[in-house]
């Protein structure tokens, strides 16, 4: 049972074997453990303001879900934010995300206001890299979404991925622990312009 039930649904898409589950598992078992692992222990709890939502994660396999197009549509229409995972060692896994992205556009309409993150996982396996980060970045630019490379294995960028995703949320305050990060970044940017 989540501590607070202000639902914020993050849908994770990716081909089989790109490491979706390990990413999510890494995240859930990581530093945010207290707030994320559903718990039924009747112990004292830390309390934070309820306008700081806790999110739930829903993982959908793009390979598997071809058989269940309705399921995929449902996760998209119910999702508040999206993580599109490919493996940097498989170009095919990046290709498989394209129809998903198109479907998100189709169902959600204006995707610019929706947090979407393109994620190249397994960046620890650089020697067998098939997708250059510059390529994925370019794709992310045409998709108007954010991009990040992660390694679930080394726990690299995992927490940052989720934090960044929530920072992209423009319509409401969603935060893992404390709010205001996005506006903070913007403010900082304004401050810096021309400083050098």
């Amino acid at each position: 049972m989540p501590e607070q039930s202000n639902d914020y649904r993050v849908a994770v898409f990716g081909a089989g074997g790109v490491g979706k589950s390990s990413l999510v598992l890494r995240f859930v078992k990581g530093t945010f453990r207290e707030s994320y692992i559903p718990t039924v222990e009747d112990t004292y709890r830390q309390v934070i303001s309820c306008d700081k939502s806790i999110c739930t994660l829903q993982i959908t396999d793009t390979t598997g879900s071809h058989q269940f197009p309705a399921m995929q549509r449902l996760s998209i229409s119910k999702g508040h934010a999206f993580i599109l995972v490919y493996s940097i060692t498989s170009r095919q896994s990046l290709e498989e995300l394209k129809p998903i992205y198109e479907q998100i556009c189709e169902i959600k309409g204006d995707v610019e206001s929706i947090p979407i993150m393109l994620v190249g996982n397994k960046c620890d396996e650089s020697p067998s890299r098939e997708v250059q980060s510059s390529e994925a970045e370019a794709l992310a630019r045409t998709w108007k979404c954010a991009f990040m490379e992660t390694s679930a294995k080394l726990n690299h960028n995992v927490k940052e991925l989720f934090q960044e995703l929530l920072n992209l949320e423009k319509r409401r305050t969603v935060s893992l622990q404390i709010d205001g990060k996005k506006s903070k970044q913007q403010k900082r940017k304004e401050k810096l312009k021309g400083k050098c």
Binding site: P2, Q4, S5, N6, D7, Y44, Q46, N157, Q163, L192
Partner: protein, 607 residues
């Protein structure tokens, strides 16, 4: 501007010839034109193709390298010039110039690189490839204790460059952290606290790095907490304070830093802010009040920092926070209630607070938020009551203070966080309190709402808590009337479903409640138990190897109890219970094995 075209033409020729005097003149002209109209001049510079020639003017031997770097710094203020600067191959020679001993060259080079990196991925990765960051960090380290104005200006530019270089780029932030930039920046902040520009730049750089989880450990090993608090105390301007807050908030997520901040006296500053701003309606003051009181709550999330501030309930901080609850300011009420909720994280604190009248204060606060109330305040106050209701000794006291009645006023709330904490508070209160459990369990309005919430599939927390409270009402009251109320409200099917929960604790709570139902009111409940397919579920639980021993044990107890009902007995007979039960006789858990023997006998006798 006509002059500019001429200058650019002339520059093209002289840059190749490298006739020093006229070159200097041309560059001065360009700088002047840039000062007059940066954008337009930059456009012309790009169109002229002169950018490509700059690389050759940036060699260590070039006498005009500082001026060229200055021009690059100016043009790179325009977004459209940053990629062209990278494409013109300027990054590598600029980074080479960072090895110069000349202060002006370093300053202009730092500016140029900083501006090219501003918001530009291409700029950042080019500087990264050329190895620019390490050289800058080395400079910062060796120059950090020199306080003359020119040096401070250089330090400011270098900090800014690192900031632009790593902003919004986690891997570059991690790179800077690995290069050990944090202790150096903290040192800068301490030494140059009189220099506003440098201090500000340090803060911006901190804010940038502090967001990375891996930085916090490094920050924790410096005296950043002390420096920031010292700096904070000196600031009166709102903007500056906000800047420090922006660094403090992410840092304070780390428990070790929380404690350091408390020890450095941050809380006293925060309390003072609240005191000053509470009655103001100016926007800046309202923001500062919110940031300050939010930060106060954040500090209380750490166990050590919380306990230190509690000081046995006699601490001035605790007392002051207490005074926020009856205030008329919603933000303060919220922060006060959240603070109490977080102080209420161990038995000793909870008992002390309840003995000293916290319950009445929280109930008064809740009472002010019943109609059109503030949801965050409701949630915070209920969260505090939930935690306070955990120690056994507090339950009776809170019950006789009328907490259940106060809490039930929020039964009509449509806000899941409020519902969730309301349920949690009630469940904690009735734990082992038979009388209260009976009273609540006969409250038709409550039970009907619980049944409704048991189906709130969108809100796993509310759903789980409702199920658990339903079970708790039966288990703690052991009352026939309570069971009848729950049957009438349609709650039985939820208890049956709960027996298949993913959580063993919840499964068990369901089975125990169902066993009590079977023992006390089987006749009333049998139809519902039948249509909820309880017997099939029990069969599945017993057959499933993954079921926990206590689940197996209680399922068998329940099977025996259900035999008192004709229709359920028939269902038991129809399923192959004997097979699964006899297998369990050799279960490794002795209680399970023993109960299996008993159940087997019962099944055999009654078949």
């Amino acid at each position: 501007m006509d002059n500019l075209s001429d200058t650019l033409k002339k520059l093209k020729i002289t840059a190749v010839d490298k006739t020093e005097d006229s070159l200097e003149g041309c560059l001065d002209c360009l700088l002047q034109a840039l000062a007059q109209n940066n954008t337009e001049t930059s456009e012309k510079i790009q169109a002229s193709g002169i950018l490509q020639l700059f690389a050759s003017l940036l060699t260590p031997q070039s006498s005009c390298k500082a001026k060229v770097a200055n021009i690059i710094a100016e043009v790179a203020k325009n977004e459209f010039m940053r990629i062209p600067c990278v494409d013109a191959g300027l990054i590598s020679p600029l980074v080479q110039l960072l090895n110069s001993k000349d202060q002006e060259v370093l300053l202009q080079t730092g500016r140029a690189l900083g501006n090219i990196c501003y918001d530009s991925h291409e700029g950042r990765s080019a500087v990264d490839q050329a190895g620019g960051a390490q050289i800058v960090i080395d400079h910062l380290r060796s120059l950090c204790s020199i306080t003359d104005p020119a040096n401070e200006k250089l330090l400011t530019v270098f900090c800014g460059m690192l900031m632009n270089y790593s902003n919004e780029n986690d891997s570059l932030q991690a790179q800077l952290i690995n290069m050990g930039v944090i202790p150096t920046l903290v040192k800068l902040l301490g030494i140059h606290c009189q220099n506003a520009a440098l201090t500000e730049m340090c803060l911006v750089a901190f804010g940038n790095l502090a967001e990375l989880e891996s930085s916090k450990e490094q920050f924790a090993s410096t005296n950043i907490a002390e420096e920031l608090v010292k700096l904070f105390k000196k600031q009166i301007e709102h903007d500056k304070r906000e800047m420090i807050f922006e660094v403090l908030a992410p840092l304070a997520e780390n428990d070790a830093i929380k404690l350091q901040l408390v020890e450095a006296g941050l809380v006293e500053c925060l309390l003072e802010i609240v005191q000053q701003k509470v009655d103001s309606d100016k926007e800046d003051d309202i923001t500062e009040l919110k940031t300050g009181s939010d930060l106060m709550v954040l500090l209380l999330l750490g166990d050590e920092s919380m306990q230190k501030l509690f000081e046995g309930g006699k601490g001035s901080v605790f007392q002051r926070v207490l005074s926020w609850i009856p205030s008329n300011n919603h933000q303060l009420q919220l922060a006060g209630a959240l603070a109490i909720a977080n102080f209420a994280r161990n038995d000793a604190n909870c008992i002390h607070m309840v003995d000293n009248g916290i319950v009445e204060k929280l109930m008064d606060l809740l009472d002010r938020h019943v109609e059109d109330g503030n949801v965050t305040v409701q949630h915070a106050a209920l969260s505090a009551l939930r935690n306070l209701a955990i120690p056994v000794i507090n339950k009776a006291k809170m019950l006789s203070a009328g907490v259940t009645e106060a809490v039930l006023k929020f039964l009509k709330s449509e806000m899941p966080p409020v519902q969730f904490k309301l349920l949690g508070t009630l469940r904690m209160l009735i734990d082992a309190q038979a009388e209260a459990a009976e009273q609540l369990g006969k409250n038709v309005k409550l039970v009907e709402r619980l049944v409704e919430w048991c189906e709130a599939k969108d809100h796993a927390g509310v759903m789980g808590e409702s199920n658990r409270l339903l079970s708790a009402l039966i288990r703690h009251s052991k009352s026939k009337d309570v069971i009848k109320t729950i049957v009438q409200s349609g709650g039985i099917k939820h208890l049956v479903t709960m027996a298949t929960s993913e959580h063993v604790i919840m499964q068990n709570e369901a089975l125990v409640a169902l066993a009590l139902i079977a023992a006390l009111e089987l006749g009333t409940a049998e139809k519902d138990l039948e249509s909820a397919k309880l017997v099939q579920i029990l069969h599945r639980l017993l057959a499933d190897e993954r079921s926990a021993p206590e689940i197996k044990y209680n399922s068998m107890v329940l099977i025996c109890a259900l035999m008192g009902s004709e229709c359920l007995h028939k269902e038991v007979q129809d399923l192959a219970f004997l097979d699964v039960v006899s297998k369990l006789r050799s279960h490794e858990n002795k209680s399970v094995a023993q109960q299996a023997s008993l159940t087997e006998q019962r099944l055999t006798v009654e078949s």
